[in-house]
C-alpha cells in the first residue's frame, strides 16, 4: 500500500516541540515524528501513551522467580533429594542467588523481546526511511496526505512553525 506524506523538516528539537503542539492544535493529525535521538516530553506532546513495558517486565520477573524456585525445590527437594553440607533438602537461603539471577534473566530478555516485537523491529535486508537525515541531525514530522488535503495550507502551517523545508514523499508500506 502506497501512502503519501508531507514531511516537515526541522533543525532544532525545541522548534519541533512547539511545532508539534501548534500543528496538533490546528487540527492536523501527525502520522509520525522521526528524530535522531530521544526527546524528553515528546510523548506528551504527541499524545503517545505511556508504555506498559514496565508492567510486562514485572510480570516476566515474577515468572522467572517462580520458575527458579519451582526448579530448585523440585530438583533438589523431590526428584533427587540429597543432603549437601548438612543443609536440608529445600535449603531456601542457598537458593537465593539462582532465584535472583533467573528473575533478572527473565525480566531482561522477556522485556527486550517484547520491545522488539511490539515495535516490529527485526533484521531486514533494506529499511525504507522517509528522510535519511532523520537519523543524523534533522527532525522530521510526517503528515499523511490524501486527495482532500490542502497542501498549500499544510506547507504554510509547517513553515510558520519553524520547518526549514517541507517535502513530499511517497512510501510503499509492506
Amino acid at each position: 500500500m502506497t501512502k503519501r506524506f508531507a514531511l516537515g523538516i526541522f533543525d532544532d528539537e525545541d522548534v519541533l516541540m512547539h511545532a508539534i503542539e501548534n500543528v496538533r492544535a490546528a487540527g492536523v493529525k501527525i502520522y509520525e515524528v522521526f528524530t535522531p535521538f530521544p526527546i524528553h516530553g515528546i510523548d506528551d506532546a504527541l499524545g503517545i501513551e505511556r508504555s506498559r513495558l514496565p508492567i510486562a517486565a514485572f510480570f516476566y520477573g515474577c515468572c522467572g522467580l517462580a520458575f527458579a524456585l519451582w526448579m530448585q525445590i523440585y530438583m533438589l527437594g523431590f526428584d533427587w533429594p540429597m543432603i549437601i553440607g548438612g543443609k536440608p533438602h529445600i535449603a531456601l537461603p542457598a537458593f537465593i542467588p539462582v532465584s535472583f539471577e533467573l528473575t533478572v534473566f527473565f525480566t531482561c530478555h522477556g522485556m527486550v523481546i517484547t520491545f522488539y516485537t511490539i515495535s516490529k523491529l527485526y533484521p531486514r535486508w533494506r529499511t525504507p526511511v522517509l528522510d535519511v537525515r532523520s537519523t543524523d541531525d534533522k527532525f522530521v514530522m510526517a503528515i499523511e496526505i490524501n486527495e482532500s488535503t490542502d497542501l498549500n495550507n499544510l506547507s504554510k502551517l509547517l513553515r510558520e512553525n519553524g520547518a526549514s523545508e517541507v517535502n513530499e514523499k511517497e512510501m510503499t508500506k509492506n
Binding site: 522548534v15 526527546i39 539471577e101 527485526y122
Partner: protein, 485 residues
C-alpha cells in the same frame, strides 16, 4: 528545559553540531582500515594464535599441561577468571549505575565500556570452561535432564551460582549493549554508500527509523535494563567471591569478600576503561567527546574504589588477628612475609599506594600519568587475585603438603592469549561499530556544549517561536538553554 550551571565543564567540547557528532563517530567506520589498525590487529591475532595453541595443548594433553599441583588446585586459571570478570564490571557500572544516577558524562564512554564488558566476560568464561578438562561436556553445569537418571546439579554450590550469574550477566549485558547500538546502526545504514554496508547495517539496525514512539519505548527499556543490571552487576562479583568465602580455607573464609570483591571489580574495571579510552580517543580523534573531565572523573572513581580495596586489605588483617584463629593469622602473615611476599607487596603498592596519587589534580588531568596509573592498577588487581588464591592454597592445614606453584608456559600462553582475544574483539568492534553512542551524545549536546547547536538572536526561526501563530499554545515556554544566563 534543563539549566546547567556555568560552573560545570562542558561534556562535549569543540562546539559540535548534531551533524558533527555523526561525522566524527562514523568517520572511523566508513574509512578504509588504516595501517595502524591493521598492525594492532595483527599483533592481537598473533596472541590469539598463542591462545589457540595453548588451548589445543590443554585439551589434547589434559590440564596436566598447567602448573597445578596437589594443593594448588586452582591457580592461574581462577586468578585470570576473577580478574577478567572484574574488568567486565566497569562497563555495566557506567551504563547502568551512572544512568540511574543521571550522570550525563557517561554518554560518550558507555558504548566502548560495555563492549569491553562483553569481551572481558568472554575471556573470563574461557577459564572455568577450560579448567573442566573436558569442555565439550560443559553443558553438564546446566540443570538438564540426563541419560543416567534424574541427577541434577547442586544448587547449594557457589560454583553453580556462578554459572547462573555469569551467563545471566553475559546475556543481559549483550542485549543492553546491542539495544543501545540499534539507533546508531540506523545512522550508519542511512549514510552507507556501498551495497554490502547498506545490507549489513540494515540487518544490524533491525529496521530502526527513529520514530518518537520507538524512542519512547527505547528509553523505558534502557531504564529498566539499568535498574535490573545494577543489582545484577553487584551480585555477579558477590557470587564470584562466595566461591572462596563459603569454603574453609584460611584466607578465603571471610565475610568481607563480597563488598571487597565488588569494589575491586569496579577498581580494575575503571582502570581498564581508562587504558582503552586513552588509546581510543587519540587513535579515533575523539578528544572532544572523551574530554579531560571524563578522564578526571574516571580517575576519581578509580581512586575511591582503590581506597575501599585498601581498607579491605587492612580489615582482613585486623580480623585475622582479632579472631584469634591460628590458621587465619598464619595465612595472613605468610602472605605478607612468606615466599610470595613479592606478590603481596606488589599488590599493596599497585592498589593502595599508587592510586592515592589521583588526589593530586595534576595527576588526575595528565594523560601519560593516568595511562601509567591505569596499567599499574590492572597489574595490581591481577596480583590481588593471585595472592588470594595461590598464597592460601600453597600452605594449607597440612605442612606435609606445602608446595610452591609455578606456572607453565601453557599457563602463561592462555593468559596472554586471552589478552589477544580481548584486543582482537575490541579492535574489530572499534572498526565496524560506532565507538561513541551518537544518539546519547546528541541528547547532552545542546546544554553542555560550547557554542553548540543553540539558537541565537539572528536565527530566522527565533521570532516565530516566541510568537506562536496558532492560538492556545503558550508563548512562555523557554526555547533553549543559553549558557550565559
Amino acid at each position: 528545559m534543563q539549566h546547567v550551571s556555568p560552573v560545570r565543564e562542558p561534556l562535549v567540547t569543540g562546539g559540535k553540531s548534531y551533524h558533527d557528532v555523526t561525522q566524527d563517530v562514523c568517520r572511523q567506520v566508513e574509512a578504509a582500515p588504516n595501517v595502524r589498525w591493521m598492525a594492532a590487529l595483527s599483533v592481537a591475532l598473533f596472541f590469539l594464535g598463542v591462545f589457540l595453541y595453548s588451548v589445543y595443548r590443554t585439551l589434547w594433553y589434559g590440564i596436566g599441561e598447567w602448573g597445578l599441583n596437589k594443593t594448588v588446585g586452582w591457580a592461574w586459571d581462577i586468578t585470570n577468571f576473577v580478574w577478567w570478570v572484574g574488568i567486565g564490571h566497569a562497563g555495566t557500572l557506567i551504563s547502568a549505575v551512572l544512568l540511574l544516577f543521571r550522570q550525563k558524562w557517561r554518554s560518550s564512554i558507555n558504548r566502548a565500556a560495555e563492549a569491553m564488558t562483553i569481551f572481558a566476560v568472554i575471556c573470563a568464561a574461557m577459564f572455568p570452561v577450560l579448567h573442566m578438562g573436558r569442555p565439550w561436556l560443559a553443558y553438564w553445569v546446566f540443570p538438564l535432564q540426563n541419560t543416567f537418571g534424574s541427577l541434577w546439579v547442586n544448587f547449594n554450590s557457589p560454583l553453580l551460582w556462578d554459572v547462573f550469574a555469569i551467563s545471566t550477566y553475559f546475556t543481559v549485558s549483550l542485549v543492553f549493549w546491542y539495544t543501545g547500538l540499534v539507533p546508531d546502526f540506523a545512522t550508519i545504514r542511512d549514510r552507507a554508500k556501498g551495497p554490502i554496508a547498506k545490507v549489513a547495517y540494515s540487518l544490524l539496525s533491525m529496521g530502526w527509523t527513529g520514530s518518537a514512539k520507538h524512542w519512547s519505548r527505547y528509553e523505558t527499556v534502557s531504564l529498566i535494563l539499568a535498574g535490573v543490571s545494577t543489582p545484577l552487576v553487584l551480585s555477579v562479583h558477590t557470587i564470584v567471591s562466595m566461591d572462596f568465602a563459603t569454603s574453609v580455607v584460611p584466607g578465603w573464609h571471610t565475610t568481607i569478600f563480597p563488598p571487597y570483591f565488588v569494589a575491586g571489580a569496579i577498581f580494575s574495571g575503571f582502570a581498564m576503561v581508562l587504558t582503552l579510552m586513552l588509546i581510543t580517543r587519540v587513535v579515533f580523534k575523539l578528544e572532544d567527546y572523551i574530554t579531560m573531565e571524563h578522564i578526571a572523573l574516571m580517575n576519581k572513581i578509580m581512586m575511591i574504589t582503590g581506597s575501599i580495596v585498601g581498607v579491605a586489605y587492612i580489615t582482613e588483617f585486623f580480623i585475622a588477628w582479632y579472631s584469634q584463629v591460628e590458621f587465619e593469622q598464619y595465612a595472613f602473615i605468610n602472605r605478607a612475609t612468606g615466599p610470595y611476599w613479592w606478590a603481596y607487596w606488589s599488590m599493596m603498592t599497585c592498589n593502595v599506594i599508587t592510586p592515592q596519587l589521583v588526589w593530586i589534580r595534576k595527576v588526575r588531568y595528565s594523560i601519560p600519568l593516568t595511562f601509567v596509573l591505569s596499567i599499574i592498577v590492572n597489574i595490581g588487581m591481577w596480583f590481588e587475585r593471585f595472592v588470594i588464591i595461590v598464597t592460601s592454597l600453597h600452605r594449607d592445614y597440612l605442612p606435609s603438603s606445602w608446595v610452591m606453584f609455578s606456572p607453565t608456559i601453557i599457563d602463561i600462553g592462555i593468559y596472554v592469549g586471552t589478552l589477544g582475544l580481548f584486543f582482537t574483539l575490541f579492535l574489530l568492534f572499534a572498526k565496524f561499530f560506532p565507538v561513541v553512542n551518537m544518539a546519547e551524545v546528541k541528547t547532552v549536546l545542546k546544554y553542555t556544549v560550547d557554542n553548540g547547536p543553540t539558537y541565537t538572536g539572528h536565527d530566522p526561526h527565533h521570532d516565530l517561536i516566541h510568537k506562536p501563530t496558532t492560538h492556545g499554545v503558550p508563548a512562555t515556554a523557554p526555547v533553549n538553554y543559553n549558557k550565559h544566563d
